[in-house]
Symmetry: C2
Subunit: 367 residues, 2 copies
Amino acid sequence: MSVFTPPSRLLFGPGPSQVPERVYQAMAQPIVGHLDPFLFEQFEHIRAALRELFGTKNQFVHALSGTGSAGMEASLSNFVLPGQKLAVFSAGYFSERIIDMGKRHGANVVVLNKPWGETFTEAEATEFLNKEKPAVAAFVHAETSTGALQEPKAITGPAHAVGALTIADCVTSLGALPINVDENGIDIAYSCTQKGLSCPPGMSPVTASPAAIERLRARTAPCPIWYLDYGLLLEYYEGSHRYHHTAPVSSIYALREGLAAIMEEGVNKRFARHQNAHQYFVKRAAKEGLSLLVPEGRRVPNLNTLCVPEGVDDPKTRKRLLTEKGIEIAGGFGPLAGKIFRIGVMGPLATEPNVDLLFDSLLECMK
Amino acid sequence: MSVFTPPSRLLFGPGPSQVPERVYQAMAQPIVGHLDPFLFEQFEHIRAALRELFGTKNQFVHALSGTGSAGMEASLSNFVLPGQKLAVFSAGYFSERIIDMGKRHGANVVVLNKPWGETFTEAEATEFLNKEKPAVAAFVHAETSTGALQEPKAITGPAHAVGALTIADCVTSLGALPINVDENGIDIAYSCTQKGLSCPPGMSPVTASPAAIERLRARTAPCPIWYLDYGLLLEYYEGSHRYHHTAPVSSIYALREGLAAIMEEGVNKRFARHQNAHQYFVKRAAKEGLSLLVPEGRRVPNLNTLCVPEGVDDPKTRKRLLTEKGIEIAGGFGPLAGKIFRIGVMGPLATEPNVDLLFDSLLECMK
């Protein structure tokens, strides 16, 4: 018996999302050492599944020992040198975080801003990138703060035309919708475990293209962050398995099991299930006279941003949902504070009955 | 049923160490969100227990979302500014890691070197620090690569005399022996969850003195690492609980339960149990004609470094132990490669029968 009993929650927020029981059970299995051959076998299973979900043949596919934000910081610190130009496409909170991190790492950050919730066209990207000619261009695939989905090719095409590497924040997309890293020309991608992968938070799946690895190898100064240095991590993960840090064995077990569950369901089936649940969400919202922030065609399917109706108290509604129904959803922040509910429909919750449960509860608590 | 079944291991290495079943069970409890009031309650339980184990009244006591190495990197990047002088006392692998990280962060690193396995006297520290007058002095309390224990006051006294902040690596000591952060004049300390705390790897308990926090507040440039920025983390952990990153909820549950188990045993009783197991280890080693690398009086009690006897094959012995007995121990590295076995006797394994089990198995596999 544990000294504490967590309250029972249905995690309809932007993450962490609902975790299947089998993942919890896997995490409760006894650990082995961080240099145990058994652990390296699990890494290989993880890498194979992540390749399928990222849609890549990249050799470099790993899960870092930190959350999605660590993946963002690793992507910037390994691939953007101090003084190099980093172009950021910014229309939400997480692109602003990329800007912040880029500046901390001494990059020359240039930004194309649009209002939160919008996305970028190929013409806009081309004009900006042709003018700036950056070394690296970064964008957010599925913006968690707004629910807007960016078409990757609109940015990667013009970025490659000027010789820039591309970084895509796939924190909210991995596991819930296709990313197609190779086909979409994404050089560097990072994600998390606690959204589309239905695992607990704590790790960050990452990938890098051969062109990115080539640029990594050409570095003369080491990565400023020892903990996230891809050169050192490669030796641990892929090479001689030389000790770097003590990998979080239980989180690796959880990820291994969560990915196995996804592979059993089938990647395309899973994507379709999320898309269907999203369509059902949209239909139900319309039926209830509720509107979505993001126009059709560029919505993140697993993260719906519902406009808070006139006269409804945002924090009060969310608090009631949590305490009376055990349902977590999130509010907006920044320019969208008080204006939207952010509702994740992911993993085990991405079904029509669960969407109905969510709406029934939300409508009751909005009263 | 999970898709995999880990081999059964007795973790007698330097870490990860054996985890009690109740910690696994706690980790398998359903997660809540990273902004859920329940999670912040757990943080407060964790902070109270860590204060007792660190031996501090510091307000700033937290567990970072990364392994012990992330704690090292956080301590350096938050408290050592680029260009500032960082003095490192180096006699093992982990002090060399401090040097590496310090350089990556642009510190002016000066080093007092001694052969691996030695420690520093107050006279040596005084001479070095009076000459160098650093902004920060860093040392390893319990050196995992050698098994040598540094008396903190020998360094912190002379460091404070020249106005330096002190950083202590307590990765191997926390939870197994007294650290007495306040009494020993340690300004900044970091540790891990997978050694003396008997939890799975993945988090890094840290603390900082009021003097250190004052220096943090005086920073004009932000911490170069966004993910480990104590200023931002403080707002999430202690202040308005403003979102920073998505905290690893399951690892927090594990730490919460592991610390509860330690508090139930009693901190002093636990330290005494580890000391007793160590004494028994030393006695048994002598009985078997085996010698320890580190002289009596400055040995890390929970990490014994046994000299590999003449004619014994180090890697073969460890491989046999793992495959035939399911027992993990570690070898030496750097200048100690092939020369020592590193044997952790921690947590549930710190008992006389377990020490006997270890020796019986080791002797058999050395043949």
